[in-house]
């Protein structure tokens, strides 16, 4: 039988792009900017 027949869990994630844009890194970046570290 084919490999795909074994699958019971999702193998691919197609809708991840719009999710979790704001995560830990975004928070860290915001904190750095607020601390005035950013050079312009």
């Amino acid at each position: 039988h084919a490999a795909k027949d074994d699958e019971s869990v999702p193998l691919w994630e197609a809708d991840w792009e719009d999710e979790n844009v704001a995560d830990d890194f975004t928070g860290r970046l915001k904190a750095e900017v607020e601390r005035g570290v950013m050079k312009d």
């Binding site: 490999a3 869990v9 193998l11 691919w12 950013m38």
Partner: protein, 217 residues
């Protein structure tokens, strides 16, 4: 018609082999939609009793899918024993350019041997786009009146947080490339060092992006 009849009558194993190599060829030609079609066929029809062959197909299918905006699930990587793609997946999902570069370097010999290194290297644009999207979100929160005007200094800071120092010209070049290939809709205001994003759909779906060089060939 004759070729099609031959294909229909061929053994399943031969069909899978043909689609695998046709998919690889399409990936080298940067025709990722076609590569996805052929390699997905090979993956879906490859015998489960040949895990080595399934892995061979996945080594190409995974980067091709990621270039088209589809991530492999952690379960898929575990099941088929492809741990080298785990940090690449995380880098794409999180917009972590430093992680992508370090995982490419750490697995360089393996990726080159499998013939996927150049394919994986193209993910830099996908990762940079994700990072830019995060930077744009921070900018929108901090400066809602100018949400569509992203200072390049903010992107520089984001890269610095990842341990990447980029020359200002190099950074402009990176963004110009993202705009040229339609990863991002907008324009660079060079004098004010600001990326002005389009008000609608500034980050078009990856499947709609121009992945190959429009001037090549």
């Amino acid at each position: 018609i004759e070729v099609s009849r031959l294909f229909d009558n061929a053994k399943q194993a031969h069909k899978v082999t043909l689609r695998y190599y046709t998919g690889r060829l399409a990936a080298y030609d940067e025709d990722f939609a076609r590569a996805d079609e052929h390699l997905s066929y090979a993956f879906e029809h490859c015998a489960a009793s040949s895990p080595g062959n399934v892995r061979r197909v996945l080594r190409y299918l995974i980067p091709v899918k990621m270039l088209l905006g589809v991530l492999p699930s952690p379960a898929l990587l575990t099941k088929y024993g492809l741990p080298e793609y785990e940090p690449v997946r995380r880098a794409v999902a999180g917009g972590d350019l430093a992680l992508l570069l370090s995982s490419l370097e750490a697995n360089q010999a393996r990726f080159i041997q499998c013939g996927t290194y150049l394919l994986l290297e193209k993910l830099q644009a996908v990762v940079a786009r994700r990072l830019l999207r995060k930077v744009a979100a921070v900018n929108a929160q901090m400066n809602p009146a100018k949400a569509h005007q992203v200072p390049l200094a903010l992107l520089e800071e984001a890269l610095r947080l990842q341990g990447i120092e980029k020359d200002p010209l190099e950074l402009q070049c990176l963004i110009a490339n993202l705009i040229f290939r339609k990863y991002v809709k907008g324009y660079l205001a060079y004098k004010s060092r600001v990326l002005v994003l389009a008000k609608a759909e500034a980050f078009p779906a990856l499947s709609a992006v121009q992945l190959s060089d429009p001037f090549a060939g």
